[in-house]
């Protein structure tokens, strides 16, 4: 059964306050090279068949909110 991996991320123009907190924590641990962190979601779908237009539809209708998020997907198996 094919697996589709959907990743959803906050649009780059938006402040990711959770990501900023994580970046600050990494810096605090001594990883000064970390300038920023962005947190997204990984949603793995097990599907009977892969039809790209339908996957895109799922992302637009439910998995991502187009006002604040971008999405991408890949078939991984």
């Amino acid at each position: 059964m094919p697996t589709v991996r959907v990743s959803v991320t906050l649009k780059p123009s938006l402040l990711d306050s959770a990501g900023r907190t994580v970046a600050g924590s990494l810096q605090h641990l001594g990883y000064e090279e970390v300038q920023d962190a962005r947190i997204g979601k990984l949603i793995q779908l097990e599907v009977d068949s892969v039809e790209e237009s339908r996957i895109r539809e799922m992302c637009q209708k439910l998995l991502a909110n187009p006002v604040i998020e971008d999405f991408s997907f890949e078939v991984v198996g």
């Binding site: 906050l10 123009s13 938006l14 402040l15 306050s17 959770a18 907190t21 979601k41 439910l62 998995l63 909110n65 006002v67 604040i68």
Partner: protein, 227 residues
């Protein structure tokens, strides 16, 4: 006037809403479960706060796909009054009935406090009687209103900004913007003005026992609508 107070798994302000509508606004109110698909017999909809479906995926995202929300969209498009408070606002935004989106508060904290609001338009039934700064409680972790510059301009041009966070004396300043919302926005209207979404809880400010009655000026719209 009979108001449908929608209930989802995870709603937790449904009882507050029902009681304040019945006892303090003096209108009829009944619960309607999320898998119902009819609003027959109702004249208005109140989408209460909570953590519907555990706020999985995004706040309000799953609830926005429920049967009762499809019916609520149809109902709203007939021009009838709909209000969403807190998680209810998130649900209405996710459903597309209202523009924009709600995201994590800028300070990462769940904020439980009183805020001051100024009505930015009087053209909607929801704001027509809000003629002074009101003090209303908030309780949310994800209330930072987001909309892009073009969307904000549309809101301003159409007078769709219902409420902004302001100081006690009504001034628009950054320190009043508790959650970091775009342009201090606390509540928005749809284009027609019959649908209101707001993060603050007017139903928690309808009797002195609750600490204030400023919510009355918003919710009493429901007692004025001719049905």
């Amino acid at each position: 006037m009979k108001v449908a107070v929608l209930q989802f798994p995870g709603s937790n302000c449904d009882q507050d809403a029902l009681k304040s509508l019945r006892e303090d606004i003096g209108v009829g109110a009944e619960y309607v479960w999320h898998d119902e698909s009819s609003l027959a017999g109702f004249d208005a909809v109140f989408v209460p706060g909570g953590f519907t479906y555990g706020d999985y995926l995004r706040c309000g995202a799953i609830a926005s796909q429920s049967p009762i929300l499809q019916e609520t969209k149809r109902f709203a498009n007939e021009g009838r009054p709909v209000i969403g408070v807190c998680n209810g606002f998130q649900i209405l935004a996710e459903s597309g009935l209202l523009p924009g989106a709600l995201t994590r508060n800028i300070n990462q904290k769940f904020i439980c406090d009183d805020v001051f609001l100024r009505a930015e338009t009087r053209r909607s039934i929801w704001t027509s009687d809000v003629d002074k700064v009101v003090r209303i409680p908030i309780a949310h972790g994800e209330g930072r209103y987001i909309i892009d510059a073009d969307g904000l301009k549309v809101l301003e041009d159409n007078e769709q900004i219902a409420f902004r966070y302001v100081s006690a004396d009504g001034n628009l300043d950054d320190s009043a913007n508790v959650n970091g919302s775009v342009s201090n926005i606390a509540g928005v209207l749809n284009k027609q003005g019959n649908v209101l979404g707001m993060m603050p809880h007017p139903e928690r400010a309808t009797k002195e026992l609750l600490g204030g009655i400023d919510g009355l000026s918003i919710l009493k719209a429901l007692s004025l609508v001719k049905v």
